[in-house]
């Protein structure tokens, strides 16, 4: 019999360990490491959005980076205009959510096949890249915020205490905000996968036709999953823009859009912890090697990706889990579980 903790017990343990780590790390790490980890947290939120929509709802979206970017731009424009981060955070989540709802409605209610969903989300991202790149003229303003074309929007106000713009977050506070945001998003998605909605998403991933034959309107559930994932990605964009105090169209580039896919695949599709792990490993590697300039980072990422696709296609976490389950079964515990909503 399994002696593992119950779900609430697991989550409480995770919160306790994460809290201790997050509070302790700024005390022992240098500022450059703290900034680096803050960026990885923002990317991990982006990876979680793809892990949710692809790994659980079975929708391969190339557009998560687009929602990440829209969230970042919405935050920047609102914060510059209003001078307060609270409504800007709301805008950073709400704008990509509404955009995804409108875009997703036409995609899913037109019953596009999976491959066309991937293609059209990629095209949407590239159109945004081209469009935002052409906004260098002073005419392209949102209130007082100049979009700036490929130069982007600089000097974005950081997160502040609600209503008190002079009390804003420094690097350590931003580290805490990003870290606890990642934890909150992870817990929220884990919880949602245990609800009826989460189980329906897993059912759709496993057999969409059977779900329809049982009476589920799969178009609606796909749209909802897409919208939730866009909101999460948009929130990641808010954290990223705060880390950088800057946002530019590179977030809509093909190379950036492909990165979350690699993070999720290497960490493990069908899990939430795996994509976070994948993001940590690959982002840290990119940042370290980027500084040293000893090796072309894209070449190395390509090699790692090829290695995983050929030799560890399930990704790190599912491979470790299968190995441990195999050992447990060999040791006499024959209980079997589904791939449903494990983290």
């Amino acid at each position: 019999m399994s002696r593992s903790l119950s779900f609430p017990g697991q989550m409480l343990a995770l919160v306790a360990v994460s809290t201790v780590l997050l509070l302790a790390l700024p005390l022992v790490l240098e500022i450059d490491r703290i900034l680096q980890l803050t960026l990885v947290f923002a990317f991990s939120i982006l990876a979680l959005s793809l892990a949710f929509v692809w790994g659980y709802a079975g929708i391969f979206s190339f557009g998560q980076a687009a929602f990440f970017g829209i969230g970042g731009y919405a935050y920047a424009a609102t914060a510059i205009n209003l001078g307060d981060s609270t409504p800007a955070i709301v805008a950073g989540v709400l704008v990509p959510t509404l955009f995804a709802a409108l875009f997703g409605y036409f995609v899913f209610y037109a019953r596009l096949s999976k491959i066309f969903v991937a293609v059209i989300t990629l095209v949407m991202t590239l159109i945004l890249y081209k469009f935002m790149g052409q906004t260098a003229k002073p005419d392209y303003m949102i209130g007082n915020a100049r979009l700036g074309g490929y130069n982007g929007i600089p000097a974005v106000p950081p997160i502040n205490v609600p209503g008190q713009p002079h009390l804003f977050a420094g690097p350590d506070e931003m580290f805490y905000i990003a870290g606890f945001s990642l934890l909150a998003v992870y817990l929220l998605l884990r919880w949602s996968l245990r609800t009826r909605f989460g189980k329906i998403l897993v059912g759709m991933r496993e057999n969409e036709k059977r779900m329809e034959l049982l009476g589920f309107d799969t178009r609606l559930y796909k749209l909802l999953a897409f919208v939730v994932a866009a909101a999460v990605a948009g929130f990641g964009g808010v954290v990223f823009t705060n880390w950088n105090a800057f946002i530019d169209p590179h977030v809509f580039q093909l190379a950036f859009s492909a990165q979350p896919i690699i993070w999720v695949m290497i960490g493990g599709l069908g899990t939430l912890a795996g994509p976070i792990l994948g993001t940590f490993i690959l982002s840290t590697l990119s940042l370290e090697l980027g500084v040293q300039k000893a090796l072309d980072i894209n070449l190395l990422l390509g090699a790692i990706f090829t290695f995983f696709v050929l030799l560890v296609p399930q990704g790190i976490i599912p491979t470790i889990r299968n190995y441990l389950e195999g050992r447990r079964t060999a040791g006499g515990d024959s209980s079997e579980g589904a791939t449903g909503a494990r983290g």
Binding site: K199, M211, E212, L213, F216, E336, A338
Partner: protein
């Protein structure tokens, strides 16, 4: 489970299912051609016919997987020709497809929980699953993933999925394919029991099985209804033997 509805005796009340001149074409292939079919509440009907006769296409039209090219479908008197698959399921039409359509990566219990949650909420979901598990004797495989079960077991679980969703019309497309003799007998028993609470249309090729469950049989041939008669008459009709298995096959 609901009490068995009485078969329709009153000509004023509409049949459970009726199709009028239903047609489905694929290019030049007329898979279903002008089929007018009627099924009463609580009735059990078998559909037979050679491969390519249009039986499975007819089922796909009824569940709206295919949109018919012409004709009408009525369910309890309501025109349902243009509604979607999930709406047809919500009206109470369940199907077991020819190739088991199940959730392969999930356990038997998770498969049934999903099926039950389609039309039920809260504790009712768990109660229905428990009831079906007992009724279909699934206790031993409850924790097993579907992709680790045999073909016959997967067929049986798909039947359980359909039963769990509590439909009032059950379409079974070759439910005994790949099953052992014991499993076939078990399935016949189950179908007779299901018929106490739902109407059924069963596509089958196994004549013994058909004899054991059905009183009425509809014969499909080249997309059309060739004959509708009692099981005994159909199974001894030489014309059916000729179109189905070759001349003389049913004469013995």
């Amino acid at each position: 489970m609901k009490a068995r509805p009485e078969p329709v005796a009153d000509s004023a009340s509409p049949p459970l299912l009726r199709t009028e001149s239903l047609s489905k074409h694929f290019g030049g292939v007329r898979a279903v051609e002008s089929v007018t079919f009627s099924l009463g509440e609580g009735e059990l009907r078998c559909l037979i016919g050679p491969n390519g006769a249009g039986k499975s296409t007819f089922f796909r039209c009824l569940t709206k997987i295919y949109r018919p090219n012409a004709g009408k479908i009525y369910f309890r008197g309501r025109d349902v020709t243009s509604i979607a698959t999930h709406e047809m399921a919500r009206l109470g039409v369940g199907i077991k497809t020819q190739v088991p359509s199940v959730f392969d990566g999930l356990t038997v219990q998770e498969n049934l929980m999903l099926a039950a949650s389609a039309g039920q909420r809260g504790r009712e979901v768990g109660r229905t699953v428990e009831e079906v598990v007992e009724r279909l004797s699934l206790q031993a495989v409850l924790g097993a993933r579907l992709d680790r079960l045999s073909h016959g077991q997967r067929q049986w679980i798909e039947l359980a999925i359909v039963v769990t969703s509590k439909p009032s019309l059950i379409l079974l497309d070759e439910p005994t394919a790949g099953m052992t003799h014991a499993e076939v007998e078990h399935t016949a028993e189950l179908i007779r029991e299901l018929n106490k609470s739902a109407a059924l249309i069963v596509v089958e090729h196994d004549m013994q099985f058909i004899r054991s469950i059905a009183t009425h049989v509809t014969v499909f041939h080249e997309g059309r209804i060739f004959l509708e008669e009692s099981a005994e008459k159909v199974l001894h009709d030489e014309r059916v033997g000729e179109i189905y298995l070759g001349k003389g096959a049913f004469a013995k």
